[in-house]
Amino acid sequence: MTKVFVSAVIDAPIEKVWGKMRDFNGLPDWHPRFSRSHIEDGLRSDTIGCVRNFDITGGAGTIRERLLELSDHEYTMTYCILEAPLPVADYVATLKLYPITVSNQTLGTWTAEFRVIKGSESDVVDAVGNGTFGKAFEVMNQLLAKQK
């Protein structure tokens, strides 16, 4: 089992960050690595069990992920991959935010566990950890720090 953990400070209050990130269908609205998304079967994006179907920017394929857990109380979202152009199996990831009370900022943490079934483990870890999670926090910080 491979585990990836990435965390970063976002210079905005937790309600603003969560407001953007809690929408399971909203990834392409702010993450440059992804485009086009819809929730299958006409479900709402906060329905546990719903499936998001979205594209990697530049025609690199489609990803389907199922929402397993969403908590406005714990600022947590957990989901698993159903289909992806990535050599992984049993992929489960959790996004969790923490308030930083003394500075009114947010710590974003993102954890994924999976098995690499083909090719180099470090390439997959880099794509997930830096390309997806690290990039997400970087973009979120750029987006929200300005309007603080």
């Binding site: 965390s7 400070v9 923490y98 009370t101 003394v102 900022q105 710590l107 943490t109």
Partner: protein, 152 residues
């Protein structure tokens, strides 16, 4: 039941922060409000169930607190108050630390739940949150900042 939660970034890697704070007997080493501390019955300070007996600098007030959870895996310490000069009952608190991979820093969190037995609840929650927890974070940061493994 009153609740208080505070959190702050400590500008040091989690290994350095945890090495200092996991010692249940180390409050006088890093918290400016605490004068002396000892573990009762000669137990080790990482023996879950041990009791620390310590005094405040301001008034010499005595506190006894019992270690309920210590986790090197989750960087977590949970304890409750047995004796305290503060107007609280059923007091249980947790410190938990989270690594910040971007910048090799640490998020420190400290929270508590308790009943206030005298005076306005808000006064006690603010006192604990700001004068115990936040003051503790500032002292940790002042002591450890810059001890990062190169990246800041």
């Amino acid at each position: 039941m009153a609740k208080v939660y505070r959190s702050a970034v400590i500008d040091a890697p989690i290994g350095a922060v945890w090495a200092l704070v996991r010692d249940f007997n180390a409050l006088p080493k890093w918290h400016p409000a605490i004068a002396t501390s000892e573990i009762e019955h000669g137990l080790r300070s990482d023996a879950v169930g041990c009791v620390r007996r310590f005094t405040r600098k301001s008034d010499g007030g005595l506190l006894r607190e019992q270690l309920l959870t210590l986790s090197d895996r989750d960087y977590t310490i949970t304890y409750n108050i047995l004796v305290s000069p503060m107007p609280v009952a059923n007091y249980e608190a947790t410190m938990q630390f989270i690594p910040i991979t971007h910048g090799d820093r640490t998020l420190a969190q400290w929270w508590a739940q308790f009943d206030v037995t005298q005076g306005p609840e808000q006064d006690t929650t603010t006192d604990i949150g700001d004068n115990v927890f936040v003051v503790g974070f500032a002292a940790l940061n002042a002591r450890l900042a810059g001890r990062s493994g190169g990246s800041k």
